[in-house]
Symmetry: C2
Subunit: 149 residues, 2 copies
């Protein structure tokens, strides 16, 4: 019912991939590698990375030896920014962000409900940076490996 689009999900994974490679000197990552890592077609990644570039979350380096890198440090990129870039509005219903969308906001009994839910989510995604998520994933990975032993 409430769904995060593939664009949002794939875009987040793309950014996490870049975050993991960030800061190793020559850190440009090519889409082909991300495609292999994340099992998402290059063509689709190309479409998804466009808004990320427009919103200056990634930088592109053209030509041989090129690729993409994060435009800022992983600790300075919030998940909310990523989701917002991938669609103008990071909200449950359009009327929450664009109040010209519907003429009945003033009297709509559900508007405040959806608005409240949106604010809740925004707060959650605002409190998570790429670094946070990478750290969480590393911990999880370590735990799994310990279990496997």
């Amino acid at each position: 019912m409430i769904r995060l689009s593939t664009k949002g999900r794939y875009g987040t994974r793309l950014m996490l991939n870049l975050a993991r490679h960030y800061g190793n000197g020559n850190d440009a990552v090519i889409l082909k590698h991300i495609s292999e890592d994340e099992r998402i077609s290059i063509r689709y990644l190309e479409q998804i990375i466009i808004p990320l570039k427009i919103n200056r979350l990634v930088k592109s380096i053209r030509g041989a030896g090129g690729g993409y890198t994060l435009a800022r440090k992983p600790e300075d990129i919030k998940l909310s920014e990523i989701l917002h870039a991938l669609e103008g509005n990071c909200c449950l219903v359009e009327c929450v962000e664009d109040d010209s969308f519907c003429d009945f906001i003033e009297i709509c009994p559900t508007y405040d409900i959806w608005k409240g839910a949106t604010e809740l989510l925004k707060g959650y995604f605002d409190g998570l940076t790429l670094k946070d998520i990478v750290t969480m994933a590393e911990k999880k990975d370590k735990k799994n490996k310990a279990k496997a032993r």
Copy 2:
């Protein structure tokens, strides 16, 4: 990016409409009236109400003089139940509810993020009953009328 489908939104409005008419003796409401009130086509309402009926949130009365009523009191119906009925899973991503959906949950760096967001939303919708929402809407309405004077 994160979107509540029309089914979820329209279904909620449908239920709120029934809630407003609940308990007035002969309280069966026909879809035609809901259609006029909410400006949603009867045909679409018919589709939306099916899962609400299957999940025993509404009762139907067939034939002339029939219609629909809430199956329980508005204070006993939670918004989370409505959203859950309208789609099997009331979650941001399928893997959160159906762990056979993806094989990489154990190592997926984003799974826990989406799961956390889903839990947050669920908690929010769990704390809201139809009665709560109707009461909120009435207060809002009164306020608007006061302003108009």
